[in-house]
């Protein structure tokens, strides 16, 4: 970051000094320096900002951790979050790809732009952050995405005393909520939400813990924990650099995603190598490096025989690639959960 303008930008908004914390709550949306669509009235200067979050996600006993860095930039019709996510411990990317974007519409929910697969975890975290920014005391709605439920959940929030900034605690305002019907209905039995804000009204931490039952029996609950590590406003120039870097990476990542043919990979490589040096120095330099490594890997794969049969033969005799997919009831099924059983995998279509 060349230059931090957080202070000056905030004092220019002229609101901070005159407001107590309760009032701040109600104007939270208008105050917060990042993560907000321009509809809330930024005046002439939309916020170009960056923030890094640590994410911890729990599904039953399954835990995943990663770091997600969000760049907030301008986009037609709203604001765009360009994100990069990485598991710092082993250098892998949640969902398999290091970069993606979400457009924040002026109204309604963030819309993932599907130029590459948004990792479900990352999407969930981004939507959760976005929703928590607008939280208010009293009766309201929590975005269930935070705990893997694609609908709004009724919560009651109250302001609780903390040493610095302020904090909201929320819990499910109904006794239980049926999420999915059927023979074994999935029921949300509890939801605890905790949101922390700094004295400027910026979200610093958000936690959700959900308890569920299925068909009346215990069912693995879900948790999402978000902790903000860094936040900064960006110089206009730097914001543009992020945008340009993203536009540069987008088609390449798209090929990584879809194109397994050698020709497609070579075309992507050519395009990538032409301008790589320029962007390697920019704010997305780390992602450029990631993508370079991925291109090499995928090239190796693409130079192997193109016939899927030939490729598949190499899989035999080795551990079956693991996957997690949803069944018709929306439950996640993981191949490795069936270790100890013989499994027949049938890939099928109607035709």
């Amino acid at each position: 970051m060349k230059h931090l303008r957080v202070e000056s930008w905030l004092s220019r908004s002229g609101l901070l000094a005159s407001l107590g914390s309760t009032t701040i709550l109600t104007v939270l949306g208008a105050l917060f320096l990042f993560l907000i669509s321009p509809s809330t009235g930024w005046g002439e200067e939309p916020p170009v900002a960056t923030a890094t979050w640590e994410v911890r996600e729990l599904k039953g006993d399954d835990e995943s951790k990663y770091t997600v860095t969000i760049y907030q930039v301008e986009a037609p019709g709203g604001t765009r979050w360009i994100w990069r996510a990485i598991d710092p411990e082993n250098g892998t990317y949640p969902g398999g790809f290091p970069i993606g974007s979400v457009r924040l519409q002026k109204r309604g929910k963030p819309r993932p732009e599907l130029f590459d697969p948004l990792s479900p975890g990352v999407t969930q975290a981004l939507i959760a952050i976005h929703a928590a920014v607008a939280a208010q005391e009293g009766d309201g709605w929590a975005d269930g995405s935070a705990v893997g439920i694609r609908r709004n959940l009724p919560v009651k929030r109250r302001d609780v005393a903390v040493e610095t900034g302020f904090s909201l605690k929320g819990s499910l305002s109904v006794e239980k909520l049926e999420i999915r019907g059927g023979k074994k209905p999935l029921v949300l039995t509890s939801l605890e939400e905790e949101l922390h804000y700094d004295e400027k009204g910026g979200l610093t931490e958000a936690h959700w813990v959900a308890g569920m039952t299925r068909g009346g029996e215990a069912y693995p609950g879900r948790e999402l924990h978000l902790v903000r590590k860094e936040v900064a406003l960006l110089e206009e120039e730097e914001g543009k650099e992020v945008q340009r870097g993203f536009e540069f990476l987008k088609p390449v990542v798209s090929v990584l995603r879809k194109g397994m043919s050698l020709v497609a990979v070579e075309m992507a490589e050519e395009r990538f190598n032409k301008d790589r040096k320029e962007f390697a120095k920019g704010p997305l330099g780390e992602v450029v490096k990631d993508v370079e490594g991925m291109l090499k890997e995928i090239r190796e794969m693409a130079s192997q025989p193109l016939d899927p049969d030939e490729r598949a033969k190499k899989l035999l005799g080795k551990a079956a690639p693991d996957f997690t997919l949803e069944d018709l009831d929306g439950d996640e099924v993981k191949l490795s959960d069936y270790l100890g059983k013989t499994v027949m995998l049938a890939f099928w279509g109607y035709s």
């Binding site: 079956a320 099924v333 027949m344 099928w348 279509g349 109607y350």
Partner: protein, 80 residues
């Protein structure tokens, strides 16, 4: 255990209807983002893989198969 992964992106209701019509018993999984299809290099439908108890991929049968052939693959996987 039979896991059947659907290739189309038709959503639950259509698959459910089909499953009901045909009286299918397998565990039906949705395509999701298609990663499963990439991992397993699926070109033709249906393609059947057998995974033994230790999680090792032991056989692959692309395209429509005689029941006899599938049975043979299944039996040899079960023996492992």
């Amino acid at each position: 255990m039979v896991l059947a992964i659907n290739a189309d992106n038709d959503g639950r209701s259509k698959i459910r209807e089909y499953v009901k019509e045909e009286g299918l018993q397998q565990k039906m999984l949705l395509r999701g983002d298609g990663v499963g299809f990439q991992q397993y290099h699926i070109k033709r439908m249906p393609t059947v893989y057998f995974v033994d108890r230790k999680g090792v991929l032991v056989s692959r049968s692309p395209g429509y198969q005689d029941f006899a052939d599938l049975e043979k693959s299944l039996k040899s996987t079960l023996r492992r």
